[in-house]
């Protein structure tokens, strides 16, 4: 069967996009529309499910099936949908407040069940929709509308959390790094199991420049290390810096000072997430922050496959259900 060739524009709904001018969400929307036609999945087989927040308006702008649900719960709707309709490609669109605060529980459980959905987490480290309160990923000491003396919450690291929940695909990208972002979305779509892509996304109204160190092209090379499977961790404007493992911690070295073999070679396929977890914990400014695929482990059974396999197996071993037989099984009696 030949599928009609679709273009990015075919994935645009007829609704006006209403994010603030300059919002990082536009870039993520554009990359999604660009990536989807390449996946060969018809529009009617794709469903976007979101929670609440600026990012969560996303489904309205896609010409696919979609559900704008309730705060923090998007992974649960996706779980119910994917369990019953494994034929669909399901995307969860969420933000740092949505996924990690009110929805922290569901975020963990989607990952540990390895339900085959793709979670795109827009992380701008602030509450945008409710106008500027700090979020679970806001920095300590951050002054916001609700923290005039500075936030005293320790920030949550979405990648560490995902790895701790045994996530089988964990990646990070940046709204402004469009090519990389498109590649990460594509890799996520191709992964079988829960995929998480954290996207650094600028809120130019309430938290402008919070991640400029990673977003701005000039600064990015010095502050970000792009992970590639099987390649050493090298970064810097002149590719002159590297990351190596010394004992049980990572450190930055000058490439010139060490042998090439000394640098850490990235292994996204390693089932033991210990080193991936160490990468997830690298934070600016002490360390370069990793982007790319931290972990991509295939072959872990998905929840949707297993729930359907159990039904199939039950039908094979017990035969398809016969209600009339069920009704009359066991102790019955006749009344004349």
């Amino acid at each position: 069967m030949t599928l009609p060739v679709l273009k990015a524009a075919d994935f645009a709904s007829d609704q006006d996009v209403r994010w603030c001018p300059g919002c990082g969400d536009y870039s993520i929307l554009a990359q999604m529309k660009k990536v989807l036609p390449d996946l060969g999945v018809p529009r009617e087989k794709i469903v976007f499910i979101s929670g609440i927040g600026c990012s969560s308006r996303f489904p309205y702008y896609m010409n696919t099936y979609g559900m704008h649900s309730i705060h923090g719960r998007a992974p649960t709707f996706a779980t119910g949908l994917k369990s019953t309709r494994p034929d669909l490609m399901v995307w969860v669109i969420t933000g740092d407040g949505d996924a990690l605060s009110i929805g922290g529980n569901h975020f963990i459980h989607a990952l540990r069940r390895n339900i085959d959905v793709n979670i795109v987490l827009f992380n701008n480290r602030i509450y945008g929709l409710t106008k500027g309160q700090y979020s679970p990923t806001s920095s300590e000491g951050q002054i916001t509308k609700s923290t005039p003396m500075g936030s005293i919450d320790h920030p949550l690291n979405p990648l560490s959390l995902a790895l701790a929940a045994e996530g089988t695909f964990v990646a990070r990208s940046i709204d402004a790094h469009v090519k990389h972002l498109g590649e990460m979305l594509k890799r996520a779509a191709e992964h079988k199991g829960t995929s998480l892509v954290e996207v650094y996304q600028n809120c130019n109204v309430f938290n402008d420049g919070a991640m400029a160190y990673a977003q701005e092209k000039k600064q990015r090379a010095e502050n970000v290390v792009e992970l590639e499977h099987g390649k050493p961790l090298i970064f810097g404007t002149n590719s002159d810096k590297g990351v190596r493992l010394v004992g049980n911690r990572l450190e930055v070295v000058n490439v010139a000072d060490v042998a090439v073999d000394d640098l850490l070679i990235h292994d996204e396929k390693e089932p033991n997430p210990a080193i991936q977890m160490m990468l997830a914990r690298m934070r600016y400014p002490e360390m370069p922050e990793p982007i790319g695929v931290l972990r991509s482990v295939e072959g872990v059974a998905t929840y949707n496959d297993q729930i359907n396999e159990q039904v199939q197996r039950a039908k094979e071993t017990k035969g398809p259900g016969d209600l009339q037989e069920l009704f009359t099984r066991g102790d019955t009696w006749e009344v004349a």
Binding site: M67, T84, L88, W333
Partner: protein, 640 residues
């Protein structure tokens, strides 16, 4: 003990007295096997052709401290040769395994009733645990009021099972089967069902199976051979049940089977998303057995996940159901509101328990009615149905799914702990003759014409277009939407229109449900209006009052929102309307506010169902005096 009660109809040389019905309660420590004993007695009685009704009553703790009053677990069953609607008020017989069980249950035993006590459980240590100063069996008043049988059950059981070489602890555990055997003898029950049960349950442990059989037979033989019992009782088969094949059904089981049947009748697979909570968990346990029927069960991480996964499944086109009890329903409230504005069909079951908050988890109550009616933000009306008995759960599950799909909305089912754990005979339906539930998902199109996800049919229902269908791509969400297109809309007039439309959609269900039926006259002196699990007690009470000459009618609501169209006229046709509820007046509030009729409440929140006598008294207090003089005496003679 040579008697061998093997036959289906054990005979006894002693005097057999035929009675129309027996109410018996078995009480002991939680862990003594009282629920098992009660279930066996129920099944055996049902198979003997009696009408049966049961009421299990157990503590919330898994193993409450043994020997204490808090740890008493009881199981009550009424079996009768006439049609019955409740497990009975006063007990004809009470079996107690220890002093705590005796003192906490004796108040329900009628004067002259039979008290069988395992005297091995009556000693200083047990008196202390039950906070008693002396042996309650020795009190003179007890001797004078009841017919007491002191049976050393533990000792007799040890002797009976001695040859099977069990440890004393394991041997003692067989004593509930000894008690069972004795009860079976006393009421002329066959041992066959229980012998089969033992074989099924303990087949892999032949020594335990053999010991339990020995204990059961020893109990029976004890009744047969000792001089203690002068007579036994026989309850003839019930003649009043509709002809057909029957089985005994518990409420939660019937709900589960009704859901699977509704899925079958509508050509759907069933998805059940839930989180464990008493007393709803057994629906999950039951449904998880039926994967070969296409049933998928999700034990979610919490109540919110459960309802939201259910909505996700409904969006995908599956028959989706979630269930909980009051506290869990509170957590599901936001999701239910979303299901309502998305206009997706699903079923939300609330198996009510005593509240508020954690309340009385293992006890029954009807106090979530207003929660289900109004417990969502915004104007979010939903249909509410309530089963009236364990067997009715089967039919109402199917009816709920019919309404949900015809109307495109979540439907709430209000069961309760009394219905969920109680049991009664269920007439097995002929699946082939049950009406199908027709569901039409709109077909796909190759064209890119805009699809209207909120276009409406004559019932105001929108199309159930499901992902995977070409050309019908659409987005739904919790934001207010423009009618027709479903696009987000903050237009003031549109919000009013959508609010009106959603309410009208629910109200119109009244046109497609049966008119309220009435037991008795449709106008007159007193109308009793009830809903849910109090059906049996209310019906029996009204029946007694009518038999006693009072002009009393009974209307039992299965459809609570919307109510049948004739309810207003009905209420206005009676001098007095009495509304008995196991809450402080929630249906009464709805009736008063909607129909402006001054209803009288009979309200109780004690974690216990109504006793028939309580309702008879309440009705009598309200009947017009001239009708009551003859009636009162008659009612008293039956109740006494």
């Amino acid at each position: 003990m040579t008697s061998n009660p093997n036959s289906s109809n054990p005979t006894t040389a002693k005097n057999v007295k035929t009675v129309s019905g027996i109410t018996v309660r078995l009480a002991g420590d939680s862990g003594d096997g009282m629920q098992l004993l009660g279930t066996q007695l129920t099944n055996t009685s049902a198979l003997a052709g009696n009408d049966v009704a049961t009421f299990p009553d157990f503590p919330a703790e898994i193993r409450a401290p043994r020997g204490t009053r808090a740890g008493v677990s009881g199981f009550q069953v009424q079996f009768a040769s006439e049609e019955i609607f409740t497990p009975g008020d006063q007990l004809d017989a009470l079996v107690v395994m220890n002093p705590a069980a005796m003192v906490t249950n004796l108040g329900d035993l009628r004067k002259g009733g039979i008290l069988i006590a395992n005297v091995d459980g009556f000693n200083e240590k047990e008196f202390k645990l039950a906070k008693l100063e002396s042996d309650p069996l020795e009190a003179n008043v007890i001797e004078e009021t009841y017919r007491i049988f002191k049976v050393p059950m533990t000792t007799l059981t040890r002797t009976a099972v001695a040859e099977h070489g069990l440890s004393q602890k394991v041997a003692d555990r067989c004593k509930n089967f000894f008690a069972m055997g004795l009860v079976y003898w006393l009421f002329g029950r066959s041992l066959d069902t229980t012998l089969r049960f033992i074989e099924d349950k303990f087949g892999r442990k032949p020594d335990i199976a053999a010991a339990n059989v020995a204990a059961l037979r020893a109990g029976w033989a004890y009744g047969e051979t000792t001089e203690a019992f002068g007579e036994s009782f026989q309850v003839e088969a019930a003649a009043t049940l509709e002809s057909g094949t029957y089985r005994n059904m518990m409420g939660n089981q019937a709900l589960a089977w009704g859901l699977v049947t509704a899925a079958h009748l509508s050509g759907k697979d069933l998805f059940y998303g839930t989180y464990p909570i008493t007393p709803a968990s057994d629906i999950l346990h039951e449904l998880s057995k039926y994967k070969n029927f296409g049933v998928k069960t999700l034990q979610a991480e919490d109540e919110i996940a459960a309802v939201c996964a259910t909505i996700g499944a409904a969006f995908g086109g599956t028959m989706a159901v979630t269930a909980s009890s009051g506290p869990g329903i509170a957590l599901k409230a936001e999701g239910m509101g979303l299901g309502m504005i998305l206009e997706l069909p699903m079923i939300v079951i609330n198996v009510q328990r005593g509240g508020p908050s954690t309340g009385l988890p293992t006890k029954t109550e009807q106090s979530d009615l207003l929660q289900c009616m109004f417990g969502r933000n915004g104007e979010a009306p939903l249909p509410i149905l309530a089963p009236r008995s364990p067997a009715d759960c089967f039919d109402i599950a199917i009816e709920a799914w019919r309404i949900a799909t015809e109307c495109m909305c979540p439907v709430m089912l209000l069961s309760d702990g009394y219905i969920a754990n109680g049991s009664e005979p269920w007439r097995i339906p002929d699946l082939g003759s049950m009406p199908k539930i027709t569901i039409n998902h709109p077909a796909g199109t190759d064209l890119d014409e805009p699809f209207l996800p909120y276009a409406r049919d004559e019932f105001l229902a929108r199309p159930w277009a499901i992902p995977g269908t070409p050309g019908l791509m659409h987005r739904v969400g919790g934001l207010e939407k423009q009618d027709g297109t479903g696009n987000v809309s903050y237009d003031p007039a549109n919000h009013q229109h959508m609010t009106n439309t959603r309410a009208a959609k629910i109200d119109r269900i009244a046109e497609r449900i049966p008119e309220q039926d009435v037991f008795g006259e449709t106008s007159g002196d007193v109308l009793v209006v009830s809903w849910g699990g109090t059906y049996g007690a209310c019906h029996t009470a009204v029946k007694r009052c009518r038999d006693a000459g009072h002009q009393v009618s009974h209307a039992h609501l299965r459809y609570i929102h919307p109510m049948p169209n004739n309810i207003g006229d009905l209420l206005q046709s009676f001098k007095t309307v009495i509304v008995p509820e196991l809450n402080m007046g929630q249906l009464r509030m709805l009736l008063r506010s909607k129909y402006l009729v001054d209803c009288v409440g009979v309200n109780k929140v004690q974690g216990k169902p109504f006793a028939v006598t309580e309702l008879v008294d309440a009705i009598e207090a309200r009947v017009t005096p001239q009708a009551s003089s003859k009636g009162k005496a008659a009612v008293q003679s039956r109740a006494g």
